[in-house]
């Protein structure tokens, strides 16, 4: 450790913002429209945030790496806490919005405390469905993409099919899927697979047919046979394009998952939101949305990591 203690003014912003929110929450009286007893959740969260931000601010004094990162992010964190503060004021304190549709942060946090376990169960079910459909869709998409991109005969028969079926949003198949499959789970998995399959196929095949011919020529003179040319040349060369397809498919799969769960599936986080909406429990709806947001952004982050791993050779070639 260096004896070099430095203070960056920015690092206190989050703490200030958190303390401000806490003061408003504790000192300003609740709107008389709220009849329920005061809840401890928002207070707990704000005290925790204050504690963590204070700890980070102190660490920033001593560790340059922490300081640099935390100071850079601090303005964002402070503004985010300020927005929470405003939201709390607009709902709990002043009731500027209809309380039934726009619950206070406390009430949303209460859902996590009371209903968290059940939401996790719903999320688990959703993820199982998503993974099943997603894997089927991605694998079959890459397979058809290779066939169409590589082989003229396959392209002749399958390309028109892709052009016809591909652009139909997979949610439009709901009525047919629900009667064609034995369970709503398999029907939904099929719809998700279809949503992933289309962009993956299109971008895999276009990626493969755009591979520079000289790569194939060189690989031939190095002794590569057809299978090598497909799996050791075409596929890695087309990988950037394939990933674009997979990313598009991921977005489509989320949409399809939610639609399927709101229309027929009897479980899952999308179903949970729909069910709570029908019961006018909007705090639960928001809690569900937060769970979805966190989960999906986690999935996307993981996918980015995987891509960066596989496409490490592109670093410096293409900026993302």
């Amino acid at each position: 450790m260096t004896g070099n203690i430095r203070f960056d003014r920015r690092t206190v912003l989050p703490t200030l913002s958190a303390v401000l929110a806490l003061l408003v929450h504790l000192l300003v009286p609740d709107s008389p429209g709220y009849t329920s007893r005061p809840m401890p959740y928002f207070t707990i969260v704000l005290i925790t945030v204050t504690g963590i931000s204070l700890l980070l601010a102190v660490l920033s004094l001593f560790f340059p790496a922490v300081r640099e990162k935390y100071a850079y992010k601090s303005l964002f964190i402070a503004v985010f806490l300020l927005l929470l503060n405003i939201l709390n004021t607009a709902t709990l304190k002043l009731m500027l919005l209809p309380a039934i549709y726009f619950p206070s942060p406390d009430r949303i946090l209460k859902v996590f405390a009371d209903d968290g376990a059940f939401m996790l169960k719903c999320l688990g079910y959703s993820l199982k469905l998503l993974a099943t459909g997603y894997l089927i869709g991605a694998i079959s998409g890459i397979t058809t993409g290779i066939l169409v991109g590589w082989n003229r005969k396959w392209s002749y028969w399958i390309s028109p099919l892709i052009r016809m079926i591909g652009p139909i949003p997979s949610t439009a198949w709901v009525p047919i899927a629900l009667v064609s499959f034995p369970t709503t789970f398999s029907a939904s998995a099929f719809l998700i697979a279809l949503a992933v399959w289309f962009p993956t196929t299109v971008l895999t095949s276009s990626g493969i047919s755009n591979v520079q011919n000289s790569y194939f020529e060189v690989s031939g003179t190095l002794g590569a046979k057809t299978m090598h040319k497909i799996f050791r040349v075409a596929l890695p060369a087309a990988a950037p394009s394939i990933f674009v397809g997979i990313f598009n498919g991921t977005g489509a799969s989320f949409i399809t998952l939610m639609t399927a769960e709101m229309m027929g599936v009897k479980y899952g986080i999308g179903w949970y939101i729909n069910w709570q909406k029908d019961m006018l429990s909007y705090a639960n709806v928001y809690a569900g949305l937060i769970v979805i947001a966190l989960t999906f952004s986690l999935i996307i982050t993981l996918l980015f990591r995987v891509r960066d791993r596989i496409l490490v050779w592109q670093k410096g070639v293409i900026k993302w």
Partner: protein, 263 residues
């Protein structure tokens, strides 16, 4: 030089015709007959459209002749194979593989990598790329990339190495370095070398024989035995005389407009 008994290319009345998009046929190679001996270094030189690259591609097996015969050690060439290595002007390294994996590619697809692993290192050393094994192609300079491409072709121990303007995109210093490097490798391995070039000096510096080709009709105009002892110096009278003669054959004197092109 190591004597090798294989790597003989024999072309007899070789013909290649292309059909242009407008329907007109272009004779890219017309009745070319030549025998290139095992371990020989031969350069093809001539104006563009003289079919020198076409000839190289036919030997590589990347396209098929429309007439005549083309044999490697007495066997007709029916397609590409690792016995005929190919190096383009553009190194065409696989960008998704490291230098090491690029060079190991041939051994891997031929399933001989396990037994011949040490060869990859050997060739990395031969072309002077130690320390760059883990680099990706985009991190290499033009000269280094071309060395890697050379090693990638050589690791298969081809009987014939086909070079299509391999140093055309390099700066003058790097090019001269690479020429010496190539001679050293040739000396060590005794591979038959067939090189297409635009550079008359390069052809004289490297080759046993120079095939000067002409366009319309695309055929071998004349075959020149260089016959200067190695190592060659670019400013010897013999060298300069030969240079003047080749330029004359290329009808250089009458085409000042094209000066840039031949140099």
């Amino acid at each position: 030089m190591v004597e090798s008994s294989t790597g003989i290319i024999h072309a007899e009345n070789l013909k290649k015709v292309f059909i242009r998009p407008d329907g007109e046929t272009v004779v890219a190679l017309d009745n070319v007959s030549i025998t290139i001996n095992a371990g020989e270094f031969v350069s093809l030189i001539g104006p563009s459209g003289c079919g020198k690259s076409t000839f190289l591609r036919l030997i590589a097996g990347l396209s098929m002749p429309d007439g005549g015969s083309l044999l490697l050690d007495g066997t007709p060439i029916t397609g590409p194979g690792y016995d005929r290595g190919l190096v383009f002007q553009d190194p065409t390294l696989f960008p998704w593989l490291t230098v090491y994996d690029n060079i190991a590619f041939g051994l891997k697809v031929r399933k001989t990598y396990r037994q011949k692993k040490q060869q990859v290192r050997e060739f990395i050393r031969l072309v002077g790329l130690e320390g760059f094994e883990k680099a990706y192609p985009h991190q290499l300079s033009g000269g280094m990339a071309q060395r890697a491409a050379l090693a990638r072709a050589l690791v298969n121990h081809p009987k014939v190495l086909l070079l299509d303007e391999p140093f055309g995109a390099l700066d003058a210093f790097t090019r001269m370095n690479m020429q010496d490097e190539l001679l050293r490798i040739w000396d060590e391995r005794g591979t038959t070398m067939i090189m297409v070039t635009h550079d008359v000096d390069e052809a004289i510096y490297l080759s046993d024989r120079i095939l000067v080709m002409s366009s319309r009709p695309a055929k071998i105009e004349s075959i020149i035995n260089v016959g200067i002892g190695r190592p060659r110096s670019r400013d010897l009278p013999d060298f300069l005389r030969l240079r003047a003669r080749i330029l004359q054959i290329l009808d250089f004197a009458g085409k000042h407009a094209d000066i840039q092109y031949y140099l």
